[in-house]
Amino acid sequence: PLTPMTPMTPVTPASESSGIVPQLQNIVSTVNLACKLDLKNIALHARNAEYNPKRFAAVIMRIREPRTTALIFSSGKMVCTGAKSEEQSRLAARKYARVVQKLGFPAKFLDFKIQNMVGSCDVRFPIRLEGLVLTHQQFSSYEPELFPGLIYRMVKPRIVLLIFVSGKVVLTGAKERSEIYEAFENIYPILKGFKKAS
């Protein structure tokens, strides 16, 4: 008889898994172009740039593919937002760096880092937020006077979830996508507990 194999890491049984995979909606990343930038010059020579120093001290640049927005600071630091995956964010950031290079600056591409990832999904049933805030008071903040959703601050992983009465869930604060998935798998059984509360 064959020796049975024991898995090295615990496997979540299929019956307990939600079967729902949160979809990534936004990635925020930063990169250091490692050179001082003349923002007025960039705004003059680039079609896709806007610069209003009285309002904000950075050039706002956009590209069509991947559809993203970048904030480019005179220090050479850059923020890239709007991508739907880590790879897209990196590709977009590289394109912005290339635009800056083409404008005559010795831009490099140092310390690229994903700073925040936002995901969303739908559990497909309405949720009694009043019940959830009662049973999970230490993690939840539900102020309908301020915001229609419940703000759930999960400790492990360190993710903030916005939970709405419609069953839609937004997850944010992740540095890696696995944190988003793990956070959702943690919250799903809790939410299911409020499914039949009506």
């Binding site: 079967g19 729902i20 995979v21 949160p22 979809q23 003059l44 020579h45 680039a46 079609r47 896709n48 590209i63 991947p66 739907k84 995956s85 880590e86 790879e87 897209q88 964010s89 990196r90 590709l91 590289r94 394109k95 290339r98 635009v99 083409k102 404008l103 995901g119 969303s120 999904c121 739908d122 559990v123 497909r124 049933f125 309405p126 949720i127 009694r128 937020l129 009043e130 805030v133 009662l134 008071q137 230490q138 903040s141 539900y142 102020e143 309908p144 006077e145 301020l146 915001f147 229609p148 959703g149 709405f164 009465v165 419609s166 069953g167 499914k195 009506s198």
Partner: protein, 371 residues
């Protein structure tokens, strides 16, 4: 003392023996006085004042609040009172405290949420029942007055009891979750007041009712009233002795008493209380690999006709939040495309693609001229 004994004077610092370090800063003193004054205006018990002051002192010493603007420091006092009231189930709304402080709710909200987070304060949810009692306290319909016609005066206890029942009904039918509470309470108070003496009051509009009661009519209250009436009409359609009448939004008010009395039975019959997941199967959810768009679309085509047919035949409607019954937003596309998934981030970037974002010399000249 003799000169040889003066050596011991340096043993105890001046600030220690005169309590200089224990003095409160002017900012803190002003803030504490403000908190105390606000508590007096709100007629809060002394223990609330003590708790709010201690929260304020703790908050002001916290690095997150030590260097904030004076405006925010003044707000902080109000936030501490708000938290204290909520912890003691004293139904103080944000709207009330904001109007006392003359601040915008957005700014109050940001300071309040920071306070909750930085001090690790546990703030229980607002009790709707308590809010109903407090909000109705401000209504001027319980005593005879020059501007209130006699038929409009109502017994306070009866009105509170009925309003409470209507608010509970609203809560059970998903009209409360995620919404501002005051508009719902105001709409429920109006319906409760009308239903207690419908003959005299059915002709009174919601706006006039609020004016007579001396309360504001918040904009969403009209929508909440409409939603409540829809629920009541559906319930009325299940009452055997009401089926013969052609119920509408005016006439159903006369029967609110009966509807509330048989609430549980009527809700069960008027609404489909089966598994909500089946009810939601009419639309594909996002991020569900098990329901790709094509299959989801087919499910939608399948689900909708039967759902519409049920509603058309006057059958039970699913008991769901209004945002699910009448979704305003268009559903987003489910999964990213295969080409999006294939991106590695290290793809070569063509010069032509980058050059499309650069201005030519002519364009730069024209742009400079235009500026």
């Amino acid at each position: 003392t003799t000169w040889p004994n003066t050596g011991c004077f340096s043993e105890v610092a001046y600030s220690q023996s005169t309590g200089q370090k224990e003095q409160l800063s002017r900012c803190l003193q002003r803030g504490i006085r403000r908190v105390q004054d606000l508590c007096k205006v709100l007629q809060l018990p002394t223990v609330f004042e003590e708790t709010a002051v201690s929260y304020f002192q703790r908050a002001l010493q916290h690095p997150s609040f030590h260097l904030v603007s004076l405006e925010k420091k003044e707000l902080l006092g109000g936030c501490c009172i708000f938290v204290t009231c909520r912890q003691h189930n004293w139904p103080l709304t944000m709207g009330t405290i904001c109007s006392l402080l003359y601040v915008k709710q957005e700014l109050f909200a940001s300071v309040y949420l920071s306070l909750q987070k930085e001090l690790g304060l546990s703030v229980p949810a607002l009790s709707l029942g308590d809010l109903v009692k407090t909000h109705l306290n401000s209504f001027q319909l319980f005593q005879h007055a020059a501007n209130v016609p006699a038929p409009f005066v109502e017994d306070k206890e009866k009105m509170v009891a009925r309003t409470m029942q209507i608010v509970e009904l609203a809560s059970e039918t998903w009209l409360v979750t995620g919404r501002h509470p005051i508009p719902i309470v105001t709409a429920a108070a109006f319906l409760s007041w009308q239903s207690l003496q419908p003959a005299a009051r059915l002709t009174c509009t919601f706006a006039r009712f609020c004016k007579l009661a001396g309360v504001d009519l918040p904009p969403p209250a009209h929508l909440r009233l409409k939603e409540l009436l829809e629920i009541l009409l559906r319930m009325a359609s299940q009452l055997a002795w009401l089926r013969v009448f052609n119920m509408d939004k005016k006439t159903v008010v006369k029967h609110i008493g009966d509807l509330l009395q048989h609430r549980i039975f009527l809700l069960k019959n008027a609404f489909c209380l089966e598994d909500e997941e089946e009810q939601r199967a009419v639309a594909p959810g996002e991020g569900s690999p098990g329901s790709p768009p094509a299959a989801g679309g087919a499910a939608q085509e399948e689900g909708c006709p039967s759902e519409r047919k049920r509603q058309h035949e006057g059958g039970p409607r699913p008991l769901l939040p209004p945002c699910l019954i009448n979704p305003r937003k268009r559903l987003r596309t489910a999964a990213p495309s295969a080409s999006d998934s294939a991106i590695t981030g290290d793809e070569p970037i063509s010069d032509s693609e980058i050059e499309q974002y650069l201005r030519g010399p002519e364009e730069i000249r024209a742009f400079r001229k235009a500026k």
